[in-house]
Structure formats: C-alpha cells, structure tokens
C-alpha cells in the first residue's frame, strides 16, 4: 500500500521496557515514528479493554512490552499479561484481527537495540498487512 504508515500503540512497562526505549533514545537510535508509547507501571496493568479500544480508535497494531520473565518488578505481572495475551489473541482472530497485530515481548532496561529491532519488525509487518479495516 502506497503512503501507508502504520499506527502502533505500544504499552511499555515503567521498570524495564520504557527504560529500554529510553536507552535507545539516549543512544540516538532511529526507529519508525508510527509508534505511540503509553507508559504503564507493569505490562500486567494492560487491561484487555485497552487493547480493544486501541484497535477501535485507529491502531493498526498493538505492542505490549514488559520485563523478562523473572525480572518483573511485581514478581509476575508480566506472566499474567502473557496468559491474557494468549487467550485474547484467539478472541481477536474471531474479530478479524490478524494474530500479528498484537505483540507481546520482553525488553530489559539495557536492551535499546532490541527495542528498535522489535519496533522496526512490527512496523514492517503492519505495512504488509495494511490498515486495519473498521
């Protein structure tokens, strides 16, 4: 699709992933501008309703980034999100939202490079899928 720049909502946890994004910024790394970051205290805070609302309001993709398993500031908030994510993905496919449009991954505070890589990959995949019809 010509001229299509995907909009991606990223929910980043305060303790690891947001720091990781910050690390990418401090290192002057470039990544696609279509990502809109929402900082949350924990990936486990991301209510399934937030994700549906994001898709409804115009997101082509939604990313949730949290601490690596075992590193969660609240012990297991990220694992709660993982469980929610696996079930929600199945529900989303019934809504006609392709699996790849929702992504959960782990970024630590030091992984600025990984953050950039994930955002680039996600944006590229959304370009392939095209805008989410609504």
């Amino acid at each position: 699709m010509i001229g299509f720049e995907p909009k991606i909502i990223g929910f980043l946890c305060n303790w690891c992933s947001y720091e990781g994004a910050d690390a990418a910024g401090r290192a002057r790394k470039a990544y696609p501008a279509g990502l809109r970051v929402v900082r949350v205290m924990c990936s486990g805070r991301v209510d399934s309703q937030f994700i549906l609302e994001a898709f409804k309001e115009g997101a082509d993709g939604v990313m949730i980034l949290g601490c690596h398993p075992g590193d969660c500031h609240y012990k297991e908030g990220n694992l709660q999100m993982l469980k929610r994510y696996v079930i929600l993905k199945r529900v989303l496919s019934q809504f006609g939202i392709e699996e790849d449009r929702l992504k959960l991954d782990w970024i630590s505070a030091g992984e600025g490079d990984k953050f950039v890589k994930i955002v680039c990959e996600m944006t590229e995949r959304m370009r392939q899928l095209g805008p989410l019809p609504r």
Binding site: Q49, F55, K83, R84, I87, Q94
Partner: protein
C-alpha cells in the same frame, strides 16, 4: 375515574422468551394488569400499528421493548415507540446488549443469508432465491423488511431510559421495574435495574471458591461429572460469574449450570468479553508458552463464549470488515 398509566410491550429480533417472562409473572400479572392500561402488545393482544401511530407523543407511560434491532421495520417501530413513550425500557439481553442474535456480527450479512437459504443441507431452494427487500409477484410489488448489515442493541438506535437485563429477565425484576414506574421511584436514568455486584459475589457456592483458583485445563460440561455443591471454576468448568452482573437469583447455578453472562457487565466494565477472557486467563496455572497455548485452545469458541450476549454492544461490536459494502 383517573386515567391509568399506559404500558406498551413490543418485540424486535428475539426468541420470544422475554414475552414469556412477562407471562411468568403469573398471578402478579393480574396485579400489574389491574393497575395499568396495556395499549399495545402485538404478541398477546389485538392492536394494530396504526393504533400506536394515532396516539399522542409521550402518551404511553412506559414501553418495554425486547429483542435486538436487525431489520428496518424493527428500527422504525423502535423510533415510533420512543416518540410515543415517556419511558423506554430495554427488556432482556437482546435489547440491552444485542443478545445471542448479536453473535451474527461475527459474520457478514451475505454469508449468513447464503448459508441459511442456499448451503444448509436441509434447505430446498433449487433456484437459490435469497430474501429480497422488494419483489414483484403476479404484477404486484411485495415488500419485506430490509435486513441490516449489523445487529444493534436498542440504545444504538434510540435513547433508552432503563434496562432490565437477562435472557430472559426474572419475573421478580420485571415486577420490580413495573412497580418502580407505577410508584414513581425510579433510579437515575440509564440504570440497569438489577444487582450492582458481580454474580460471583452473591453465588450460593461462593464458600467453596478457593482463594486462589488454579486451572490447568478447561473442561466442557459433557466431559466431566461435577460436584453440585462446588464452585464451577474450581472444577475447571468455565463460569462467567466473576464478570457478570448479579441480580438473577443465580438461576443457572441453582440448576447446576455455570453462568453464561446474560446479565451483561457490571457498571464499571465496558466490555464483558474482554473482562471474561482476562479473568479466565488469570486463573490458568501454566506459564510455559506451549502448554499455555494448549490450555487456551481447549476453549473451542472463545469469542462466542465471552460475547454470547454482548457482542453488538462490545467495544469492537463485531468482525472488522472493510466498509465498502
């Protein structure tokens, strides 16, 4: 003699169970009937559309509409009833949230029509005729109500004053709603006339619910025999009690069946399906990704389960499709 309050009842896209729930008032129906004038009730009494159209605006004290809005005729009647009534009450899950008929929103209208009229093995339709809005029969034009692309809850078409939830609502709730209208003690506009807390909170089996539920595999009810005294979730049977408004007297639980969510979400929740899926996720006792996927896959139709009564009024409202048609 002072004039009695006028009450009307109408049905849209529904199964008729809500009409039945009015009859379930039993002797109380006589009390209600004595206190009011029923001016329109197509399923039970012989009134014509023109009788309602001839009434003044706001002449009817309260109208109960059950059923979702799926055809042009239903939308037209909903608008007429709105105009003629001081209070419009959504009666039952379909009017309240879209109900079971709202599940059609997971499909496109054309797919549903061709499935029903052409593909179903028992359909005998060699010419493959689909229902038409207008058709010429022996030189005469015949019209059928047009079927909408999406099923809507009543409040997506007209303003609704109150909601009586349930599939169908309990006679107690209908009676209480009627009495609220007659005795003029109505809560703030927009209130769902049922419990405020989740069903789980008032469940007769609440004491058998452990502090921490841990489920490795979800079972379907035909796969297992379960203890009629114990919390369904603890047995691995999906029950939507934690994400569903209470006030139903736990009818299903008392009949030894798990909750399916017909009372809709509580006041603080926008999307019952999203909440159901996330509370269910939280009790899964597996975090290994492969095992987790297997557990999730043991729910055969998650969308249909979590949105059984509320798809039409959920955040996404149905399957996302390009708006070209």
């Amino acid at each position: 003699m002072t004039e009695k309050p006028k009450i009307a009842l109408y049905w849209c896209s529904s199964c008729g169970g809500c009409e039945e729930s009015v009859i379930d008032l039993a002797e109380d129906l006589l009390t209600v009937a004595a206190a009011v004038d029923i001016v329109f009730w197509p399923v039970a009494l012989d009134f014509k559309y023109k009788d309602v159209v001839a009434m003044n605006d706001g002449e009817i004290t309260a109208t109960l509409i059950n059923g979702a809005i799926r055809t042009g005729e239903q939308e037209h009647m909903a608008k007429i009833m709105r105009k003629k009534s001081k209070l419009l009450i959504a009666h039952g899950s379909c009017a309240h949230l879209g109900g079971v008929v709202g599940l059609a929103n997971f499909y496109q209208r054309e797919d549903l029509l061709s499935r029903l009229y052409q593909e179903v093995p028992t359909t005998n339709n060699p010419q493959g005729i689909l229902p038409q809005h207008e058709t010429i029969e022996s030189g005469r034009k015949i019209k059928l109500p047009d079927i909408h692309d999406t099923v809507k809850a009543l409040d997506q078409v007209v303003e609704v004053d109150y909601y009586i939830p349930g599939c169908p609502p309990t006679p107690e709730l209908i009676k209480e709603a009627m009495m609220m209208v007659l005795e003029n003690r109505l809560p703030p506009r927009g209130t769902v006339l049922a419990g405020k807390k989740a069903l789980c909170d008032t469940c007769p089996r609440i004491d058998s619910k452990p502090d921490k539920l841990r489920i490795k595999k979800f079972k379907r009810i035909y796969e297992t025999e379960w203890d009629p005294e114990k919390c369904f979730l603890d047995e691995g049977i999906i029950c939507l009690g934690p994400a569903t408004r209470g006030g139903c007297n736990a009818r299903c639980i008392n009949a030894n069946m798990p909750c399916r969510g017909c009372f809709g979400p509580t006041d603080n929740v926008r999307d019952q399906g999203a909440k159901s899926s996330s509370f269910l996720a939280s009790i899964i006792d597996v975090t290994d990704k492969e095992a987790l996927k297997k557990t999730a896959d043991s729910i055969p139709d998650p969308g249909g389960l979590f949105y059984r009564y509320g798809l039409a009024s959920s955040i996404l409202k149905g399957k996302l499709t390009p708006k070209s048609s």
